[in-house]
Symmetry: C2
Subunit: 208 residues, 2 copies
DNA sequence: ACCTTAATGCGAATTTGTTGCTTCTAGCCG
DNA sequence: CGGCTAGAAGCAACAAATTCGCATTAAGGT
């Protein structure tokens, strides 16, 4: 069912996969996601519908595949000289991408046709890669770093939860606030006295 | 499209809605969610398929509706005498329900057929009700309480994120840990010295 | 009790999804 | 290098689903 373990990665199979993915991307832009149908994609891709049904099962799994492709980060997180700056920048960009209408659509699609949670796990793995890259640099600089899991709980999870469940204002300030609170915890762990600026505050509620 | 703003809430419409929902619940148990079809549900409910298509649009939106019904908490959170105890108990139960196979299925269904995010917002509202009930009691007792939004970020979001994106071990200890960290922050805000037991720790990673 | 109109029922027409079989070809072995 | 083998795609007939126009029913208001 899942198209990932391709027994024959090369040649025609690969061409068909790329052709179908391209057709989906084009048609989503032209007629919109809701109007997409498997026969339509098949025609555009120059294959027969049964090929798509056999390889992907249904439209949702195909869209899920395409969505995961587009959720893959294409660039490493920027190096701004400090853990805090890097995390701020990454969190802001992450929130921007995920909260934008296309981002939401991709997330939904990725979750949609994904019986085994494989694609969802892949999304999570992408975020982990980016976070780990930031943390590794911080370690190189000799900075104390939080665990990846803490950042998932404190930064990634709140963003994703609100994107999915709470249609409300999600802005860069919120992302920075999450990072602040995560790093604040770290400072306490490290024994440093918390500064006033780093104190948690929730003056702004991103939802209604 | 969305069935909520029923122009005619009473009489036949209500009977049809209940009949269809019941049919879905029965058939999911009998043949499984994957084998469900709209005509099948229609036959069981004693309505014509076109009625379902017109009111719900497609099977996913119908399943989303039914899922939200089942995600509605049927009982108020227990009163165990303290904010901490109440939150622990609530978080444990919440995690149990959401991480269980049927719970995961309901969450996925609720998100799945929900173009406007209305049903997802309803899920979030249910959690808010429960949390607010716990917090209101704590206020009555004179305890300092965190804001609802903080608990969403620190407790609800991490649980839901992991349920959706990180198939891994989610146990009661993790729920308590999240509550501990949320309340720990509160204690700092209130000026109380953090105890060792309340210090954040992430010895257990709920995922691989 | 009557009127208005949303909501349902019904069935034909259309579209989508499935299946068995054939054909093609990438990867492999001699 | 040339012929096997099996996975993958094409094809076509079939089965199932979704859509649509129109007739009918029944809530809710007057």
């Amino acid at each position: 069912m899942s198209p990932k373990p391709m027994a024959r990665p090369g040649g025609r199979s690969a061409r068909v996969q790329e052709s179908v993915h391209a057709a989906v991307r084009e048609l989503v832009g032209e007629v919109g996601r809701d109007a997409l149908t498997v026969p339509m994609v098949a025609t555009r891709a120059g294959v027969t519908p049964s090929t798509i049904y056999r390889r992907w099962g249904d439209l949702h799994e195909l869209l899920s595949d395409v969505a995961v492709e587009r959720l893959r980060p294409e660039t490493d997180p920027a190096d701004l000289g400090s853990l805090r700056a890097d995390l701020d920048a990454w969190a802001e960009q992450f929130l921007d991408e995920m909260a934008s209408p296309p981002g939401r659509a991709y997330i939904r699609d990725a979750l949609l046709g994904d019986p085994d949670g494989i694609n969802a796990g892949q999304c999570s793995a992408y975020a982990a890669e980016q976070i780990d890259a930031v943390l590794a640099r911080a370690v190189q600089r000799g900075e104390p770093v939080p665990e990846t899991e803490l950042l998932f709980d404190r930064v990634v999870a709140p963003i994703m939860y609100r994107v999915l469940f709470r249609p409300g204002r999600l802005d860069a300030a919120y992302a920075r606030e999450l990072v602040t609170n995560a790093v604040y915890t770290l400072q306490i762990d490290a024994g440093a006295p918390p500064t006033q600026a780093a104190a948690p505050r929730r003056s702004k509620k991103p939802d209604s």
